[in-house]
């Protein structure tokens, strides 16, 4: 069925023998007119999104749970340290010397790579590889599993990345510049370092994992996509354990700083800890950060069988595309994505207790996300708190979604919502009911967390996790 002919009755609302569009349709390239038609048709579906949930339920999909967390953030190298600093208001931004550009603000991680890698592995590999290995090893250890006894061919590694390869390419160009740009000085490691699957591949080498290991390129939505893709692969039975999330080595490339500066979107502030300030009237752009967060995900039955600690259950997700601009976000599509995730989880907006925003502290982007959130949650969600983690750690790019989710997971236990810091003068355009400003808030209940991550070229992802109840 061509996508531009989709109508309500053709949606797979129940197990009536019809498969979803993607499984049955011979989707042809639509003309511009047809695209517009499809666009309008899709918007008309919004009130009907509950069908997504009904369809998911009829498939009796396996429940997927989070059983381990490994992370490195600019303000912590474990969940306990990270969470402690989020509740204590401790940011992790510092000055960093960037090639060609001088001293800039950045979020820098300070984990000990040699805990899990030999010196030679660090030398030969990439920073993204080291971050992936650190997070993967820490997550597996946290899960109570042993790397040595894993069925290695049944493990999948799915790592979201904003970009990969720029660091090594810049390094090599700099290196050959010292030799008159003679390419015979170009490293033979350049290709294995810059292939897009490098971070996951390095983790597979380090762990001896022989199952599928690859990256998912989804700009700054990638961290969520790592978890979402892992959920899908577990439900399909492709793997029994997924190591998934996102990583970023972006601070080691001058290009990302220069690009944001040229775009007028690079944060400046005399005090590093105050530089990342989503929703504040004086916000002036993004603080670029590195980081990583990988989870172990398992089917619930497997986790229960081995008596695993369960941090949370995957409740639902939404992924869509703006199809409207290279860099400018689209609040209509963002709202659609959030609605899709809530419908996919079988919930209503009022059922969401924490909304962790993507907001990066760009003047326009924050307002547009607030517009999207306002459209979905309005005024009728008194139990919904809204926060932002980038105010502490800057923008960890491909790791952002995964890290920011982790920072909120302990709320299931302590019923505390970490705040958005650095809001000295709230932008009225960003004022939302339930926005937690500067100090943690105590919640009566936290059963659900909704995590937004959006990226360039208009990729949107929303992931919802819920308190595990047997």
């Amino acid at each position: 069925m061509p996508i531009d002919q989709a109508v309500e009755n053709d949606r797979p609302v129940a197990c009536g023998g019809k498969l979803p569009h993607a499984m049955t349709s011979n989707v042809s390239r639509a003309s511009d007119d047809k695209n517009v038609h499809a666009d309008k048709a899709f918007i008309a579906f919004q009130p009907l999104l509950a069908s997504d949930f009904l369809f998911a339920q009829t498939l009796n999909l396996p429940r997927i749970v989070i059983t381990g967390i490994g992370l490195t953030a600019p303000n912590g190298n474990s969940l306990a340290e990270f969470r402690g600093n989020l509740l204590a208001g401790v940011a992790g931004i510092e000055w960093l010397e960037v090639r060609y550009m001088g001293r800039l603000l950045a979020g820098v991680c300070h984990f000990d790579a040699l805990k899990h890698q030999k010196k030679k592995e660090v030398r030969v590999g990439t920073r993204a590889g080291s971050i992936s290995i650190w997070c993967a090893r820490e997550a597996i250890a946290d899960s109570g599993l042993s790397v040595e006894t894993l069925a290695k061919d049944r493990v999948g590694i799915y790592i979201g990345c904003t970009e990969h390869g720029n660091v090594e390419t810049e390094n090599e160009i700099f290196a050959i510049s010292k030799f008159g740009y003679d390419t015979k000085y170009w490293s033979h490691y350049h290709n294995p370092r810059t292939v897009a699957n490098n971070p996951a591949g390095e983790a597979s080498l380090n762990l001896g994992v022989t199952g599928p290991a690859y990256t998912i390129g989804a700009a700054c939505a990638a961290g969520n996509l790592g978890l979402i893709h892992a959920t899908q692969m577990l439900r399909l039975g492709e793997v029994d354990l997924a190591v998934c999330g996102g990583v970023s080595e972006s601070i080691h490339t001058f290009g990302i700083f220069a690009g944001f500066k040229s775009q007028g979107a690079l944060a400046t502030h005399e005090t590093p800890a105050k530089a990342s300030r989503p929703f504040d009237r004086a916000r002036n752009g993004i603080v670029v950060s590195e980081g990583g967060c990988l989870y172990t995900l398992e089917r619930l039955d497997d986790a229960l069988r081995r008596g695993a600690r369960i941090y949370a259950e995957i409740a639902g997700y939404g992924v869509n595309s703006d199809a409207s601009d290279y860099v400018l976000p689209n609040p209509v599509r963002q709202a659609e994505c959030v609605r899709k995730s809530i419908a996919n989880a079988g919930l209503k907006p009022a059922d969401i207790h924490i909304v962790n925003t993507h907001a990066t502290a760009t003047p326009l982007g924050d307002i547009q996300e607030c517009e999207a959130i306002r459209a979905v949650f309005g005024e009728g969600c008194p139990d919904t708190f809204i926060n932002n983690t980038k105010s502490f750690i800057g923008h960890c790019m491909g790791a952002a979604g995964a890290l920011e989710l982790a920072g909120n997971l302990p709320s299931f236990d302590d019923l505390v919502v970490h705040p958005t810091i650095n809001v000295d003068d709230l932008d009225p355009a960003c004022a939302l009911p339930g926005l937690v400003l500067n100090r943690p808030a105590k919640a009566a209940r936290v059963d659900t967390i909704l995590n937004n991550s959006f990226g360039m070229l208009g990729i949107n992802s929303t992931l919802i996790v819920k308190r595990f109840v047997a």
């Binding site: 010196k119 030679k120 030398r123 000085y185 033979h188």
Partner: protein, 87 residues
């Protein structure tokens, strides 16, 4: 440059390429790959570092001459000395 100085120059490179290895007991007459964790990419690194640090080119046909410290010294010392004579 003497043979021993040449061997030290090669060991300095290997120390950076294989930082986890203990180089204090490397036997000069034994193949490096038989006593150290070095793979083909590492040997390419040795070739690259000889080029970058010392301006010495090792054609692919001569890679086999880098097998042991003794063979390195035999092959490279004249190259070091030829370069020194030029400068």
């Amino acid at each position: 440059m003497t043979n021993d100085e040449c061997k030290k120059a090669v060991l300095d490179i290997i120390a950076d390429i294989a930082p986890d290895e203990d180089l204090s007991h490397v036997k000069p007459d034994v193949r490096l790959r038989d006593q150290l964790q070095l793979d083909s990419m590492d040997f390419l690194d040795i070739v690259m570092e000889l080029r970058k640090r010392h301006g010495i080119e090792v054609p692919e046909a001569d890679y086999i001459r880098l097998a042991s410290l003794d063979s390195c010294a035999e092959y490279l010392t004249p190259k070091f000395n030829a370069l020194a004579a030029k400068s």
